[in-house]
Each structure stands twice: as C-alpha cells, then as structure tokens.
Point group: C2
Chain length 335, copies 2
DNA sequence: TATTATTATGCAACCGGTTGTATTTAAATT
DNA sequence: AATTTAAATACAACCGGTTGCATAATAATA
C-alpha cells in the first residue's frame, strides 16, 4: 500500500495525501482528518526510506563498535554500552538523526575504512580507538566527519574525544601514594593509546614521588579477563612484594583482585587496587573498587557535539572530558 | 557530486557509470576501470540512501533497547550489550541488513509503539521485555514483524525469544539445595515477567524439596544496584538466618554479596549466592559467582532467525534457548 | 450577477540512483 | 562492400514520496 493507492481510495491526489499526513494547513481540516483516518484504517505506513531520500533532512550517523583485538572484549565491557547509550541520547536530543550501528565481526580491521568508504552516512562515531590508529586514519580519508573515542595520536587525521588518560593514571597513582603505598605494579596493555597514557601518568607520578619505577613490576595484558588473571598470577609469583596496583580498566582490576585473593593475599590490606572507568559494578563489588571516573554522559554529548561541529564547519578540535577519582576507596580498612 | 556529474566528467551516460561502479560485465573493462578510477579521484561516493530506496534489497531492522523503568539499568548491565552484539553479528551474517538502533530516553514507554508506528523498518527486535507488555502489544499491531527478548505472557501479540526462566530458577535453587542449604531468600523484582518465572521455579524447587517457602524472606528490588543494596540490608536486619540467596541477575547478586559482606557475614560460607545471566565479570569477581547461563550467541541468532521467519512467512513461534548453571561455584569453600 | 480575492486541490518535476529496452558501434560473415 | 551478429552504450521509466506552481473551487466584493 503506497501513497498513491491511498490517494485513489480517498479520491484525492497524491500531493493532498502527502500534505494531509504531514498535517499541512494547506489541506482542509476535514480532508486532513478523513485522510488520516483512512490511513489508520488501512494501516498505511509512510515509507521513511522514500521520505528521507526526498527530504534529505535526516542525518544518518554511523556508530562503530570495534573490538579490542580480542573477540570478546567489547561485548563484555559495560563501559562501551554506557558510551553507546549516551551517544544515542545525545543524538536523540539533537533530533532528526538516525543511529546506524555497525560492529566488528571478523578479525579484519579493514571493515572500518570499508564502512567509511562505502556507506554514505553523514558522520561516524567510533566508540573505541583500540589498536586501529592506522585504520582510522584511512577511514578518515573517506569520511572526514569522523570522531573517535580515544587518545590523541601523532599524525592523526581523525578527531578524538577522550578523557585525560595521563592525568587519570597520575591521580590513580597519587591516590595510593597518599595512602602510604610504595611498591607499585601496573596492569594493562600499553599498546593501547589510552592505556599507554595512563601508564605514563603512573610512571611520572612515581618519579615525582621520588620512587624508582620498577620495570619488572609492569605486566602486559589484554583487556580480556582470562589473560589478565594469568598475567597477574605470573606477576605474583615473580614479584610478590608490591602493595599497590594500578589497573587500566575495572575489568582488569576485578580480575586482578581475584588473582590476588586466590594467591592468598588480601585486598586492600596487602595490595590496594585502583581501576579505571568506574563502571557501575565497581561500587558494588567486594571489596569496593576505587576507580577513575570518565563521565559517559558528558563523553557521549561531546562526541556528538564534536561530530556536528565537524559536519557543519568542516573542522573541529580533539577534546577531553573530565577525569576524576571516585571518593570511595578499596583501601579503607575493612574489619 | 552525484552520479550524473561523474557521468558528464567521464563523457558517458549515468547508466554506464552505475553499471561500471557496480562492476557489471556489460561495461567494457577499460571503461569500467576508467570510471572507477575517476570516481576514486573525485572522491565520489554513491548515495546509499538513493540506492537502497531504488533497489529495496536492504532490510532495515530496528533494534530497541528499552530501559527497565529505572533510567540507568540498561546502561549498566553488560548482558544487554552482549545481546546487542550477538544480534548485530547474526544480522551481519544474514547480509544485506542495516541495524537501526533506538533506545529509551525519557520515561515515556510509548516511544516503543511510536517507533513501530512511524518508522518504516522491516522488522523490530526488542532487547528486553521489561514491564512493557501492554506497550509491546500495541507496538505489534503497527509492526507485526517484531520479536522480543523476554518471557511468554498471556494474550501476547508479539513473539518472544527467551531462555527457560522457570527452569533457570529451579536449577539455581536445586544447586544450592544439593549443597545442603535450607534457608532461602530470593532477591529480584517479580513484576518483571522473567524474574517472576525464575521466582516460580525457585518456589517450586523448594516445595519439591519439602521446604516451606518462607514468604518473609522474599524481597523486591529493582535491577539497579543501590536499591538492591538497601533491600538486602533490610532483609539481613529483618531475617538474618538464611544461608542461601537466589538473585534474579548477576548485578543483583554482586550487590547482594556486598551487602552481606558489609553485614559481617561471609560469602559463600554463611550465605551462598547464585546469580543469573553469567556475565563475564561473574567468573572474575571475588568470590566467584555461580550463575545461570543464557547463551547470548544462540539468543541473538534465534532472535534474528525468528524475526526472519516472521518477515518471510508472516508467522513464527515464541521459542526458548538453553539455560544452564555454570559449573564453577561460589559455594566451594575457600581457605 | 459578474468579477476579483482567496483557498483547496491537482499536476508534474524532482530527489539520486537502477535497469529493461532501444540504439549505436564494432566485429564477423558472406 | 553489403549484410548479419554481437557487444557497448544511451534512453527513459521507475522506486515512493515531497513541493513549487498552476488550476479549480469557493468566498468575498462590486
């Protein structure tokens, strides 16, 4: 059932139907009501695809969810969903926009630039820079209206929005320093730009505190939790003397806590842990996890706003949102 | 830059360009290559909206993420993201489909039927039945091609895909019964259809074991964690004698564990806990959380397959996927 | 009642591609 | 060289709406 069919039924022209359904004043109230009723009766549904094609007043925004190398990382980290939600909210608030979701499926990262090249979306938001810097640069050539959640990189052709990861790493470290901790370990994979910055903040905080950065206490790990457990277990065997751990994500932190507990040590008494992202569960896990907060609502809004600046003006600057440590702390002694 | 511009540049007709870009054999290889090169040089991008409008070979599937009443529930539960991911994967595997994402924003549930009424998507998948049974029924009238992740309800006009929540509740309870637990409490909000079934499974398992269901040990709670903490704390004050807890979700379970620990009791020694969903973090939290697994990969695939059956044949049946308890257990004594 | 102003509706072009069919061009056959 | 056959390209209609402009219908004015 198309509009012309409905027009025939109503005994009027297509244009009248179009205007009637749009509620235009150019059609008498009676005709309008009659046609609208008729449309309802016959369960007529306007073809949005045709409408949008003609009007071209709805922007389609592609939202991309890359995996983090590991197939399952993305699917498990609630932080990504919260970001997605806040991006959707921010788009919704703008009005007249469609959110086209695309996610990583196979292990070939070229889908990102492929998406940028072939889909004629009006803009792209990538939730998670991951290891795809080069790929994202390539994508940006095809779709200049692209904003990525992540960290600033050298020779970057896309725009990033992120939190101050360097500062975050520093705050986390200083937090534990202020509680008298002196032997640090860092858990995270510094191949990831964001993790690397957090790591640098961590190192600098230690340096400023006059503490030697002890390289052998650093461990690499994927975001996935099994790998994290193993890394942590190995670290504990190798170097059991640290009393403070900075983890690059809450997921890692929670895995680490398990590994530490399994090793027979107590958190936070023996080892204090600080995570990153401050996912909801962090507040409710046992023991409560201290974490660096990245404000997702602000982040989603900033991603969208930045993209719109880009679309309207053709340029935008990479920006950061607030980073802070949540007040609650795993280090407070439990009885 | 539209196709006709490119045609002018190339000195050929629009149709030749169209065919050249589509890689048709009807255009000489030389012309084809020349045009493709030209397109690349001029950074021409085909208008997918126009293409899809004309070809009508791409189905648009709306994926809806309702909130769970509480504004923040959805955004925090990784289970939803995992479901979303697996739905996206399943759609991707089908090919020729677009995933249009829409989520709850304000507190008005009518957006669901509004979406069904006004957006001309080819089908709808709703991830989370929540409390919106009536609303979903309404939506189904506008878009019969609608599949909902949730539980079967009386007088239901939409199709559901879900796991066997009744069985899940039963398995969870029997698991703790087999470990000698005898005093049970249930944490969850039975207004939610899925939770209600889990609760019924729980009650029946107790009945079959010859245990009186002790109504005063049941507590209602939203999925959100603050409310859960409070409910749990109150329950502990009121009735401190139970040694087993069935929680309607892992999120609830983790909150509950915290409340129990804060109360000075030990998990699992004093109170054994079983959750639901088996989110990734459940395996890595401390203590490890037993949980009922719902296979998300299968779920996403089944949601999509069911929707396609519906779209092709005009009818489909509500189905269930496997439910099982994960082997690892919080009840195993820790030393 | 004839004429003008106003309002309601219809016509046809258009959005940017795709595709069946007609036409031109080149190659093959006699 | 003339004719048939095949290959390459062009033409024009179409997808399902929207919208500027023309026209028909109605109301207002002389």
């Amino acid at each position: 059932m198309k509009m012309s069919d409905l027009a025939k039924l109503a005994g009027v022209s297509k244009s009248t139907v179009s205007r009637a359904l749009a509620g235009s004043e150019r059609v008498t109230k009676e005709t309008r009501d009659r046609i609208q009723q008729l449309a309802k009766d016959h369960n007529y549904k306007l073809d949005t695809r045709a409408r949008n094609f003609r009007k071209q007043d709805i922007l389609t925004i592609g939202v991309l969810l890359p995996s983090n190398g590991r197939q399952d990382w993305l699917a498990t980290d609630p932080f990504v969903l919260e970001m997605l939600g806040s991006v959707a909210d921010a788009l919704e608030a703008k009005g007249n926009h469609e959110l086209l979701l695309a996610k990583h499926t196979n292990n070939d990262p070229s889908w990102i630039s492929e998406f940028a090249r072939t889909r004629s979306v009006d803009g792209i938001i990538v939730i998670g820079q991951s290891l795809y810097h080069a790929e994202l640069n390539l994508a940006a050539e095809h779709q200049p209206n692209m904003v990525v959640w992540g960290a600033q990189m050298p020779e970057q052709k896309y725009v990033t929005v992120g939190s101050d990861n360097y500062l975050g790493g520093k705050i986390a470290t200083e937090h534990l320093l202020s509680q008298g901790r002196r032997h640090f370990a860092f858990l995270g994979d510094i191949r990831y730009p964001e993790t690397k910055l957090r790591y640098q903040g961590y190192r600098d905080a230690l340096k400023e505190a006059g503490l030697d950065y002890r390289t052998e206490l650093t461990t690499e790990s994927e975001h996935a939790s099994d790998a994290a457990m193993e890394s942590m277990a190995e670290l504990l065997r190798r170097e059991p003397s640290f009393d403070a751990l900075i983890a690059a994500s809450d997921h890692l932190a929670i895995s680490a806590i398990k590994a530490i507990t399994d090793h027979g040590l107590k958190v936070p008494q023996d080892v204090a842990v600080v995570g990153y992202d401050n996912i909801t569960l962090a507040s409710y896990s046992t023991p409560t996890l201290s974490s660096i907060t990245q404000d997702r609502q602000a982040a989603g809004k900033l991603l969208v706003d930045t993209l719109f600046t880009l679309m309207e003006e053709g340029k935008a600057e990479s920006t950061m949102i607030e980073t802070r440590l949540m007040a609650r702390s795993s280090t407070s002694a439990k009885q």
